[in-house]
């Protein structure tokens, strides 16, 4: 191999970090050169975020060193545990959950902490000129003068990147930057990253989306179980190979047998949910989800998915229009009525809405059917029967846990989701509401959720799948509808549908415009 002529800007050697018995990072070495785009790939829990948090001073490594090039190009050690030191050394980080104060404007967020705290005034003009120059150079544009809370997610991300560039960083870490973007926005971001790298910026791109990594990055570093398992050029690599490196075993392709849809189970006619002032609302939505099909709802979150899910789950009532489940009209908000009508619900946030952390696995499993005679008699829980049923579900859904009496909050995200899934599917629901069912799950757990949803469809259930992950929607759904600013498009056949069309519709352009 030819030696790379570009200067080294960052060098990590033997980084190890332990949290109790867990080794989150195990002897990791990583070198990054100026102008290089390096992908850091790995499943949740592989140690990507821990490694970057060490680099950015959130954590202190137990072992190992970080060296960064100083102004003269010489590598000097970076003191650990200080975000301030990392920033001063030229490391910038764009967090997956943006580190923005939403009550401040974009401008204020960018200059925050860059001027001496105890000065009488904020130096605005010079700062403004510098930000505008950076915007012109990088092509990142955003409204600087309104509170960040009012900006779109894409704009907030551009503010985050500008914040790092304003500090003249030489290494930019992007943590799952495309997770929240439409495909078009993601393309725009990729172009910006390439332009920035062309100017000598070193970029570390954290992702689990393999096609992005292959398209954008020149080198890929794969972490698994806290250790580095691969460090190679992306040229010559393919998705199957990277997936196998991440998971450590071959991933079987997803089987999706054909299915013939039956009668509509969920039927919405001109249904509105939520008050007109809300962002997450539905206006005059029409939608049919039939037995034996999976209908997907695509869209950037907060555009009406929440309102739709609340309606189906029974947490909200339709403001106007006619909503029916299996022919019965939906009136008031009535969660237990929906369960009785045969809705199996997989909520968006399994920690907040899906489980009660302090209760046991068995208790969580029967939470929705607690008043059924099989679970109680005369107001007393039938503990033995409940535990036995939970034990069956644990076996059937392969939940890795100490047993039915373990507190559910001790379970990993994937196993917790399996309990939620088991509860939702156990009673063979007519309609399955799956709201972001694979968010934050690793590939293994995701495959399992997908398999279960396809099985429910095969058994004749209607499945409503709300997801921000277009790959997931295109892989699972028979039809896809797009929601934007409360308006739901007609559901389109996935066969022959173009991802880019869906992307444009997610950004608010009509289907006609997109074609």
């Amino acid at each position: 191999m030819h030696p790379d002529p570009r200067p080294l800007v960052l060098s990590l050697a033997g980084i190890t970090k332990r949290f109790g018995p867990l080794t989150a990072n195990d002897q990791i070495d990583l070198d990054v050169r100026a102008g290089e785009i390096v992908a850091l790939l790995g499943e949740n829990g592989a140690g990507k975020t821990t490694l970057m948090s060490i680099l950015f001073g959130h954590y202190i490594a137990d072992e190992g060193t970080v060296h960064i090039a100083g102004a003269d190009g010489q590598l000097v050690p970076l003191p650990g545990g200080s975000a301030d030191a990392a920033l001063k050394a030229g490391i910038g980080m764009v967090h997956q959950h943006f580190a923005l104060a939403e009550n401040l404007t974009g401008f204020e967020n960018i200059v925050l902490g860059t001027q001496p705290l105890f000065s009488l005034t904020l130096t605005r003009r010079a700062a403004r000129a510098k930000i505008e120059r950076l915007m012109a150079e990088s092509g990142l544009t955003a409204d600087l003068d309104v509170p960040v809370a009012r900006l779109s997610v894409g704009e907030q991300q551009r503010i985050e990147i500008l914040k790092a560039l304003y500090r003249d960083v030489r290494v930019l870490i992007l943590d799952e930057p495309t997770a929240v973007l439409t495909p078009q926005e993601a393309d725009g971001l990729a172009a910006t990253v390439r332009a920035l790298a062309g100017r000598g910026l070193a970029v570390i791109f954290i992702s689990h989306k393999l096609h992005e990594v292959l398209a954008l990055c020149e080198r890929v570093v794969v972490l698994r179980g806290g250790a580095k398992v691969a460090d190679r050029p992306t040229a010559g690599a393919d998705r199957a190979m990277l997936a196998e490196l991440m998971v450590g075993r071959a991933i079987p392709p997803r089987e999706r047998p054909p299915s013939t849809p039956g009668a509509p189970v969920l039927s919405l006619k001109a249904v509105s949910v939520g008050s007109p002032g809300q962002r997450d609302r539905l206006e005059q939505a029409d939608l049919d989800v039939c037995a034996g099909e999976i209908v997907g709802i695509a869209g950037v979150s907060g555009n009406g998915q929440g309102a739709l899910a609340s309606l189906v789950a029974g947490l909200a009532a339709p403001r106007e229009g006619e909503a029916r489940i299996a022919g019965a009209r939906l009136g008031r908000a009535d969660p237990s009525g929906r369960i009785a009508a045969g809705v199996g619900r997989i909520p968006e946030d399994r920690h907040r809405d899906g489980t009660v952390g302090a209760l046991t696995v068995a208790e969580n499993y029967v939470l929705e059917s607690i008043s059924e005679p099989e679970n109680q008699s005369g107001g007393f829980l039938r503990r033995g029967a409940i535990r036995a049923r939970a034990q069956e579900a644990i076996a059937a859904f392969d939940v890795r846990c100490p047993g039915p009496d373990a507190a559910i909050r001790a379970l990993s995200g994937g196993n917790m989701q399996k309990v939620v899934l088991a509860r939702a599917l156990a009673r063979e629901p007519r309609l399955v509401l799956a709201h972001q069912p694979t968010r934050g799950l690793d590939i293994g757990a995701t495959t399992d959720v997908h398999r279960r949803l396809i099985a429910a469809r095969g058994r004749g259930a209607a499945v409503l799948l709300i997801s921000e992950d277009l790959d997931e929607l295109f892989a699972l759904c028979d039809r896809i509808a797009v929601v934007h600013a409360g308006h739901l498009s007609p559901a389109m056949d996935t066969q022959g549908l173009d991802v880019r069309t869906v992307g444009l519709m997610m950004a608010g352009h009509g289907a006609g415009e997109a074609a």
């Binding site: 948090s53 950015f56 959130h58 954590y59 200080s82 975000a83 301030d84 990392a86 920033l87 001063k88 980080m93 967090h95 959950h97 943006f98 580190a99 923005l100 104060a101 939403e102 009550n103 401040l104 204020e108 967020n109 200059v111 925050l112 902490g113 860059t114 001027q115 001496p116 705290l117 105890f118 000065s119 009488l120 005034t121 904020l122 914040k163």
Partner: protein, 314 residues
């Protein structure tokens, strides 16, 4: 009926409004400074007591009046240090700690008073701040008598409104304070110290609260009594929400409350005992509750209020 309206035309009423509002101005500014940084400070009631007692005692023992003001501010900052240490780096419940600080500060103040004056029935008096002699404006009709009853301590309260508004809106420090109450991660990621900012805000805010107490003993009255704070601190917590955490609106809220209190006192005299006085005493508090019902639903609370921040934990 006209008597009730006539009250509004008396300079005396407006002078009383400002006098009643002044301690509340200090209190609301202090509370909003703490809350803007993300820390609820329910120690306010006790810090008022401690400020009232310590400022007055310092003057009684021979310090000049402004020396007493400084002592009160220092004592307030000290209780802020206690509240801040427990809630910011240690991350304890802000409610529980605040109530504890109130009980502690109140008890320490009463204890200190008893130690200093073991055997007095009537509290000893000091010579309080004298009314200001305002040139030109003081000679105007109506306005003159209103201003003529105010002291330099009141001027300090109004000045603090302007200073705090300027700091929050226009300086790098204000930017950091507003940010740390909304998203401490953002502050940390920009290389600033979340703990430092919050501790500073709680200590400065507590010092302001103590000034509210000191105003009562050094300007409004001339002695320290048990029970003299009488819920003023709690009112400030409500007024902070009413003010949407803005200094200008805090001034407005304090003046409104002061006006209601001054008004009900005068209304009591003209109704001549036909209505029990307790009904009138309730009025300002009923107003506080009504205002909260109207405002609090839409209130834009600092997002990180009452959420402890631990570094390296997301």
């Amino acid at each position: 009926m006209w008597d009730a309206f006539d009250i509004l035309l008396q300079a005396n009423f407006w002078a009383a409004t400002i006098r009643i509002a002044t301690p509340l101005i200090f209190g609301v500014l202090g509370a909003l400074l703490c809350e803007r940084a993300g820390v609820l400070n329910l120690g306010i009631e006790g810090i008022f007591v401690a400020g009232a007692m310590s400022g007055w005692l310092a003057v009684y023992l021979g310090l000049p009046l402004w020396g007493g003001v400084l002592v009160a501010a220092g004592v307030g900052a000290l209780f802020g240090l206690i509240h801040g240490t427990l809630t910011v780096p240690l991350g304890l419940s802000q409610h529980v700690t605040g109530i504890g600080v109130t009980l502690l500060a109140t008890s320490v103040a009463y204890f200190g008073y008893r130690v200093a004056f073991p055997n007095v029935a009537t509290p000893p008096r000091i010579e309080p701040f004298a009314p200001l002699d305002v040139p030109v404006l003081g000679e105007l009709p109506f306005i003159g008598p209103i201003l003529g009853q105010q002291t330099a301590f009141t001027v300090l309260a109004f000045a603090c409104v302007g200073i705090l508004a300027f700091v929050l809106a226009r300086t790098p420090l204000g930017l950091a304070l507003r940010a740390v109450g909304d998203n401490p991660e953002a502050v940390e990621a920009q290389g600033l110290s979340v703990v430092g900012l919050r501790m500073g805000a709680v200590m400065a805010g507590s010092a302001l609260m103590a000034l509210g107490g000191a105003f009562l003993t050094l300007s409004a009255f001339n002695a320290f009594y048990f029970g003299m704070i009488n819920g003023r601190g709690w009112v400030c917590i409500a007024l902070t929400v009413f003010a949407s955490w803005r200094p200008g609106k805090a001034l407005l809220g304090a003046l409104l409350f002061g006006a209601l209190d001054a008004y009900q006192l005068r209304l009591q005299t003209i109704t001549g005992g036909a209505v029990p006085s307790q009904i009138f005493l309730m009025l300002p508090y009923l107003f506080s509750i009504a205002a909260l019902v109207l405002v609090a639903r839409r209130a834009d609370y600092p997002r990180a209020l009452m959420k402890p921040y631990f570094k390296g934990q997301r």
